[in-house]
Amino acid sequence: MKKIRVLVAKPGLDGHDRGAKIVARALRDAGMEVVYTGLHQTADQIVNTAIQEDVDVVGLSLLSGAHMTLFIDVAVLLKEKKMDDVLIVGGGIIPEEDVPALRKAGIAEVFGPGTPVDDIVRYIKKNVKR
C-alpha cells in the first residue's frame, strides 16, 4: 500500500521546532510516514536523507530569517541530484515579498503563520508528484 513519505527538516541553526513538530504529527495523523530530521541540518544532510528515505515531499521549517539562503540551497541541491519528482514546501517566518523568489527556486508553496494544518495536508495530498 503506497504511503506518502514526507521529510520534515529544520535547516540551519534555528531552534524553533514547535511548528515543525506539530506539522509532523498532523501529517502522521493524516496517514503519512514522516521522517523528522531534528535540528541543525545542512543542505547536504537534508538532501541525502531525502534520497535514502525516498521521500515524496520535503518540508522545510525556518523562523530565523535565513530562508533565502538555506531554502534555496536545499532546492538547488535537490535539483542537482535530479530529485525532480520531490515536492518542496516551506513554512515559518517568511515575508510575502520573498515568496516569488522561493517559488522560482523550486519551493512550490510557503505556509506562513496561521495556516491550518489541514491546509498543508490537503495541499500535499493534491500536489504530490508520484
Binding site: G12, L13, R18, I22, L39, A66, T69, G114, P116, V117
Partner: protein, 558 residues
C-alpha cells in the same frame, strides 16, 4: 462580624440566585460555549464569591508588598516609586546597525537595553564559520569578539544604564565581553548592572540554543553565580525563564511550574558547590511570558512570587532579598498574527497590561510586524509608546497589586499554585529536573499542549481574530525592516583583521589556560576574561569548551 456565618449566608444566597436569576438568564442568553476554560484547561465559573476564597487569611496568605509571602509584590510602593524598566529586546545585522537602534530606542524613552543575538552567536560560532551560512544578523546582532561588543555599545554610558543579554550556551563568554568592554571604558565591575539569561535548563526543554551537555553547563552557570556576587554585585547572573517554554506551546501552569522548578534546581546546584544561598540568591531573576488570558497571567505572576518565597525559605534563605521573585516580562510572540498585523498592537496592549497588573519589574512589548520580520523603527516605537501610555495615562500605577482581593483572581492564584506543586511532585518522582529532561518529560508535556492548542484553533474552538474569524482577503502591506546588505562582509573583514592584528601567542596561551582549567573545577570566569581581553573570538573560546565538555544532542519528542 461572624465570618463563618457570612460565608454560609453567601452560599445560601447564591443557591437562590442561581435558581431565580441565573437560570433565567442562561435561558434568555444561552452560554456561548459548553465550557469556559483558561489556557491551562481550568474551567472558569460564571461568578466568584468570598466563598471561593474562604480559607484564605489576608495576613498569612496574601500579606503586604515587600513582606513574606510577597504575593502582592516585592516592593512596598512599586510603580509609585519607580516605573518598571521599559526594556525592548533588539538586535539585527552588525553591531553598528544595532547600536543605532539602541540610540533610537533610548531617545524614544526606553529605560534599559536588551540584546538579541543572531543564531551563530547564540551557538558560539563566529560569523565566518561554515554553519553560520545565511544566518548572519538575521534574528539578532552578530557578536564574534570584543571588537563587536565595543561597537555595539558605542556612545552608551554603561555605568548609567543596565543591559539584559539573551544568551545561554555561551553566556559566560558574552558576559565576559560586556565586562571587558566596560573595563576598557574605565567603568569598573562594581558599577555595571544588567542580566544574562544564562538559563540552560530551559534550552534543553524549549529554546534549544544549547551547546554543551547538562553537567558542564550547570558548572559554568554556578561559576557565573559565584563570580557575579563576588565581583559584579549589581549583575543578575541568571534570568530563569518561562517565556520560551510558553512560546514552545506550554500552558500557563506548565510555564509557571517548569520555570520555578528550574530555578530551584539552579539554587540546589549552587548550594551543592558550597555557595551560601543568601550570597547568590538576591541576584537570581526571572523572565515570564504575557499571554492572552488576562487574569490567568496576573494570577500566574502572583503565584510565582509566593511559591518562590516559600521554596527559598524552605531551602534556608534568611535575607529578605533572597526570597524576592523579580521578573522581566515579554508579551507573547506566538500570539501575533501575520494577518492584519496592525491588530497585534491591541493584543500586545492587553498582554502588557496584564504584566503591569502582575507587578513586573521590567517589560518588553512586541512590535506589530513580528510575525513577518524583525521590528521596523515605527513598529518598535509604537510598542514602546504602548508601555508609556499604560504608565502615564491609565492610572493603574497608582496602587500596588490592584487586583488583590478580587475573588476570581485570588481563587485563580491559589489554583495555579496548587497545580504547580502537582508538577513539582511529578518531577520529583522522575528523579529531579535533569533526569526528567533526559526522559523527555517536559518536552512531551509541551508538545502535547502545543498540539492541542493547534487542534482547537484549526477546529475553530479557539478563535484567533483575523485568522479563523474576521478575516480579510488583502495581503498585509506594512513596511518590513531591511538590513544593510554589506553588514556581513564588513563583519568578516573585521574578524579577519582582528585575527591578524592581535597578539596571537597571547591568545593561544590564554586559550590553553582555559582548556586546562575547564578540565578541573576552578571558576572559569577569570580564564574566559583573559581570553576575551586578549581578543580571542567567541568561536575560538567556545571551541575550547566544546573540546572539553562535548556537545549536546537532543532526542526526538513530538
Amino acid at each position: 462580624m461572624d465570618e463563618k456565618e457570612t460565608i454560609s449566608q453567601i452560599h445560601q444566597k447564591q443557591r437562590e440566585w442561581e435558581k431565580q436569576r441565573y437560570s433565567k438568564a442562561i435561558q434568555e442568553n444561552p452560554e456561548r460555549k459548553q465550557k469556559f476554560k483558561n489556557l491551562s484547561e481550568m474551567e472558569i465559573k460564571n461568578i466568584y464569591t468570598p466563598e471561593d476564597i474562604k480559607d484564605l487569611k489576608y495576613l498569612k496568605d496574601i500579606g503586604f508588598p515587600g513582606e513574606y509571602p510577597f504575593l502582592r509584590g516585592v516592593h512596598p510602593n512599586l510603580y509609585r516609586g519607580r516605573l518598571w524598566t521599559m526594556r525592548q529586546f533588539a538586535g539585527f545585522g552588525s553591531a553598528e546597525e544595532t547600536n543605532k537602534r539602541y540610540h533610537y530606542l533610548l531617545e524614544h524613552g526606553e529605560t534599559g537595553l536588551s540584546v538579541a543575538f543572531d543564531y551563530p552567536t547564540l551557538y558560539g560560532y563566529d560569523t565566518d564559520h561554515p554553519l553560520a551560512r545565511g544566518e548572519f544578523g538575521k534574528c539578532g546582532v552578530a557578536i564574534s569578539s570584543l571588537v563587536d561588543m565595543e561597537l555595539l555599545f558605542h556612545g552608551i554610558p554603561l555605568d548609567k544604564i543596565t543591559t539584559s543579554m539573551t544568551i545561554n550556551g555561551p553566556a559566560a563568554i558574552i558576559w565576559a565581553m560586556y565586562i571587558a568592554n566596560a573595563e576598557n571604558q574605565g567603568i569598573s565591575k562594581e558599577k555595571i548592572g544588567g542580566t544574562i539569561q544564562n538559563d540552560i535548563l530551559k534550552e534543553y526543554i524549549a529554546q534549544k540554543s544549547y551547546i554543551f551537555p547538562p553537567e558542564p553547563s550547570m558548572r559554568l552557570i554556578v561559576d557565573t553565580f559565584e563570580y557575579g556576587y563576588k565581583n559584579v554585585p549589581k549583575w543578575n547572573t541568571i534570568s530563569i525563564s518561562g517565556y520560551h517554554i510558553r512560546e514552545a506551546g506550554s500552558t500557563a501552569v506548565q510555564e509557571l511550574a517548569f520555570t520555578l522548578g528550574d530555578g530551584i534546581e539552579y539554587v540546589k546546584a549552587a548550594m551543592n558547590r558550597g555557595l551560601m544561598i543568601d550570597d547568590f540568591a538576591p541576584r537570581l531573576s526571572f523572565f515570564f511570558n504575557a499571554h492572552n488570558d488576562f487574569f490567568e497571567e496576573i494570577a500566574k505572576y502572583r503565584a510565582a512570587r509566593r511559591i518562590w518565597a516559600k521554596e527559598m525559605k524552605g531551602l534556608g534563605a534568611k535575607k529578605p532579598r533572597s526570597l524576592w521573585m523579580r521578573f522581566h516580562t515579554q508579551t507573547a510572540g506566538c500570539t501575533l498574527t501575520a494577518q492584519q498585523p496592525e491588530i497585534n498592537i491591541v493584543r500586545v496592549t492587553m498582554q502588557a497590561l496584564a504584566a503591569v497588573l502582575g507587578g513586573t519589574q521590567s517589560l518588553h512589548t512586541n512590535s506589530m510586524d513580528e510575525a513577518l520580520a524583525l521590528p521596523s523603527e515605527k513598529a518598535v516605537r509604537i510598542a514602546l509608546r504602548t508601555q508609556q501610555i499604560i504608565a502615564e495615562e491609565s492610572g493603574v500605577t497608582s496602587t500596588v497589586d490592584p487586583l488583590g482581593g478580587a475573588y476570581y483572581v485570588e481563587w485563580l492564584t491559589e489554583k495555579m499554585e496548587e497545580e504547580t506543586y502537582k508538577y513539582f511532585d511529578k518531577v520529583q518522582r522522575l528523579g529531579g529536573v535533569i533526569p526528567a529532561i533526559e526522559k523527555g518529560f517536559f518536552q512531551r508535556e509541551i508538545a502535547e499542549s502545543a498540539y492541542r492548542y493547534q487542534k482547537e484553533t484549526d477546529e475553530n474552538q479557539r478563535i484567533i481574530v483575523g485568522v479563523n474569524r474576521y478575516t480579510l482577503d488583502e495581503k498585509p502591506s506594512i513596511p518590513i525592516l531591511k538590513m544593510d546588505e554589506k553588514g556581513e562582509e564588513r563583519q568578516i573583514h573585521r574578524l579577519q583583521k582582528l585575527r591578524k592584528d592581535r597578539d596571537n601567542p597571547k591568545v593561544q596561551r590564554h586559550l590553553q589556560q582555559l582548556r586546562k582549567a575547564a578540565t578541573g573545577d576552578e571558576n572559569l570566569m577569570p580564564f574566559i576574561l583573559d581570553c576575551i581581553h586578549s581578543y580571542a573570538t567567541l568561536g575560538e573560546t567556545c571551541d575550547v569548551l566544546r573540546e572539553v565538555f562535548g556537545e549536546y544532542k537532543e532526542q526526538a519528542i513530538y
